[in-house]
Every structure is written in structure tokens, then in C-alpha cells.
Amino acid sequence: MTILLKLIQGIGVGALSIAVGLLFIGIGRKITARIQRRYGPPPIQNFFDIFKLLSKRSISHGFAFDLGLIAGFSALLAAVVFLPMGQINIFPHNSSLIMIIYLMTMAYLGMAMGVSSSGNPNATIGIARALTMMMGYEVPFAAVIFSVYIFSRTGSLANIVAAQSGGFLNWNLVRLPFGFVAAEIALQGMLGEKPFDMTIAPSEIASGPMVEMGGKYLGFGMLQHSIGLFIETGIMVDLFLGGASNIWIFIAKQFVLYFAALMINAIMPRFRIEEGVSFMWKFPLLLGVVQALIVVL
């Protein structure tokens, strides 16, 4: 009976993350439009897009193509249930942080398997860039996680949140400032916002991994992106912004992080892939290592 209940909760949390992610992207499109002095689409435009994409006929490129996309999508759905969001914490796992990071890598690998089996060279270039960029931002992010781990002496996100309770000054944002800056830069890379959006460079490699996706496949790609956005900002809220007492505050804090990423996105050009990785391995990694040293010593 409890398993059934957990299952229903898990589905609910997945649906919530999809809805919030899509809404965030929609609001983000509106904000970017206003920065560019355009009127912009309505904030719920992404729901229209998803509905339309899922209602289109679509072309598969073989079994591995389907399997890869489903694997990526389900890995992210599996990751989101480990994320404590406000009072919702379905699986209070002992090392949920590592679990989420692992499953998010799985999502990328599943997508890599899928899109590279489509045989389009642009897709292969795009996914190669995505994996290279992942190597870039995972290293500083790992350094940050390492310092948070040692600082809080726990690997459970729920306990990390609990350790930050009691006001703004107890947040890891204040206690571990260098780590926060490093993680914020890594977050920009994770979200794929500018200047780290070389994965989906529409004018160079025809939108990269999505090049052969049409209809329902592109719809699943968009859903995957929205869950990914929810998890990535959610981890940052739990690690640095002291979690939240309820889900609404959690979503508000997530939006603050996404808003900052959008502002950087709106004014930045695009890095080349080697510039992006070398930037990630210089400044955020340096900050992360400095933070880890401060924590250890």
C-alpha cells in the first residue's frame, strides 16, 4: 500500500516538475522578449507547443533512437523524486545528492545514444559538444559538492537543508560564498544558457541534438529540458538557498536562480566549445577548490 502511495506521489511530482519547468521556460521567453523590446509570447506558450508537438505525426530513426530518448526522459523522472522540495520529500535517501547527479548524467547519455543513432552529423556534433560541456561543468560542480559534503557532514539533501535552517545567515550561500559563485557558473552551463549554449547552436549546427527530432520526439526533448531545468535549479536551492518550508517558496527561489541565468543569457554571446570548457576549468574550478580548501582547513 505504501509502495502504491509512493508511486502516485512520484507521478505527481513528475507532473509538477514538468508543469513548473514549462512555465519557467515560457516566462523566460517573455522576459527575454521584453529585454529585446519585443512583446513576446504568452507565458503559457510552451504548453501550446507541447500539445501541438505531441499531436503531430513523427518519424522514428530506429529502435535505439526511441530507447535513448525514453531512457533520458525516465532517468530525469527518476531523479526528480529524490529531490526534497519544501515539505515534499518522497524518498529520503541517505545520499540523494549523488543519486541525482548520477541520474542526470544518465539522462545525457541516453540522449546521446538516441540522437547519435539518427545518423545526422549535426546531431553527432551537438551531442559531442553537450558531453564535452558536461565534462567542463561537472568538475567545478563536483568540487562544490565535495565542500558542501564535508561542511554539512552528510550526503542527504534533506539533511543539508535541515543544517541550513534558522534564517538567512545560516544559508550555505553566506557560509560558502565562493562555492556558491562556482556552482552558479556551473548552473549556467547545466541549463545550456548563453554563453554556454554551444550544444544547441541553431545557426551553426542546426540545433544540434534536436536536428532529427520531429513531432513527439521533439516534444519529449522539450519535456526533458523542462524537468532538467527544475532539477538543476532545485538542487541549487537545496544546496545553497536553505531549501524551503513549502513548495511555493521553493518554486519562488528556483525562479530567482533561473531569472539570474536568464539575465546573463540575454546579454551574452556564445563561447566556442574549447573556450567554454577552458573557462569552466579555470575560474569556477579555482573558486570551488578554494572553497573546498577553506572548508577542510
Binding site: P41, F48, S207, G214, G215
Partner: protein, 183 residues
């Protein structure tokens, strides 16, 4: 919810979100940047430019098509997944425009792929393009824009027209081997 209500709902959402692939070999391509960017901003109608035919719903063809480019347009159109719509932009797609008697430019796009809306003019202003988007949205939401169904139903006719014009691509001068033989 009955079948017709469901298809009405689907048509409503399809009209609210149309992604466009612009095939810009003609000179009319210059009118598209103002439509996409701040001055006219087509994103407020849910229309954004896409990079590949797989992702797109609208195929916008600007200006004239030579026989070579028509071949690519037909490939592109076949790669798009249904439902899909074609906008013919400028007088070149209607009657050939200034190329009406050219030996290697097609006159009527409608003979080769089904066109849902023509935008007349040489060239049409961005307002005209926006107007055609609104018109297409209305047609899609009423379920009237059925060019892709016309294409599947009359595929033999379209295919014959395409083959006729592609088969015309013999060299105008003598063949290469004849030239070498006579030399």
C-alpha cells in the same frame, strides 16, 4: 469529449503554435528579419523560426525557385511531418514574377507542392507576412488548411509535374561525350 470537439481542441493548439522553416533562396528573404525581430515580432503569435524541416510546421518559400532548388524544396517538404503548411511568398511563387519566361525557373509553385496561402507582392511588406500568419492561424483553427492532405490524395499528379520539370534538366548544349567525339 466527442471526436469533433477533440479535433477542434487540437486545431486550436496547432494554430497557437506554428514553427516556421524559411526556405530563403529568393530576394524576399530580406523581409523576414524585421518580421522575426523587435519591429514586428512574430513570436507573440507563437511562430518561431526553426532550424530543420523535421521540427517545422510551416514551410515559407520566398521568391523564385529554379529547377535545382525546387528539387531541394520537394525533399524538404517530404521530410516535414504532418500536419504541415506551405506559404508562398511573393509574386514569383504565383506566376514566376519577373522570371515568368525563364527556361530554368518554375512559374507556379502550386503545381509541385500544395500551397495553403499566397502572399502577393514584389515584395510583400512585413505587415503582409504577419497578415498571412494570422490568416493561416484562422484557417488552421477552423480546420480549413488541408494542403498536406491534398498532396497525399493527388500525389500522382504532383509527382508527374515534378518529374516533368526535373526530367527537363538535360544540358541545353550538346552532351559532353559528343563534344569529345567530334574533337
Amino acid at each position: 469529449m466527442s471526436q469533433s470537439q477533440w479535433s477542434e481542441l487540437v486545431n486550436y493548439f496547432r494554430g497557437r503554435s506554428m514553427w516556421m522553416l524559411h526556405y530563403c533562396t529568393g530576394c524576399g528573404a530580406i523581409e523576414l528579419p524585421p518580421v522575426m525581430t523587435s519591429r514586428w515580432d512574430m513570436e507573440r503569435f507563437g511562430i518561431i523560426p526553426m532550424a530543420t524541416p523535421r521540427q517545422a510546421d510551416i514551410l515559407l518559400i520566398t521568391g523564385y525557385l529554379s529547377i535545382k532548388t525546387l528539387k531541394r524544396v520537394v525533399y524538404t517538404y517530404d521530410q516535414m511531418s504532418t500536419p504541415k503548411w506551405v506559404l508562398g511568398f511573393g509574386s514569383c511563387t504565383i506566376n514566376g514574377g519577373i522570371y515568368w519566361d525563364s527556361y530554368n525557373v518554375i512559374d507556379r509553385l502550386d503545381k509541385y507542392i500544395p500551397v495553403d496561402i499566397y502572399i502577393a507582392g514584389c515584395m510583400p511588406r512585413p505587415e503582409a507576412i504577419m497578415d498571412s500568419f494570422i490568416k493561416l492561424r484562422e484557417m488552421v483553427q477552423k480546420g480549413e488548411a488541408k494542403g498536406y492532405e491534398k498532396y497525399t490524395k493527388n500525389y500522382e499528379w504532383y509527382k508527374a509535374n515534378q518529374d516533368h520539370v526535373f526530367g527537363r534538366s538535360e544540358p541545353v548544349l550538346r552532351k559532353a561525350e559528343e563534344v569529345t567525339k567530334s574533337a
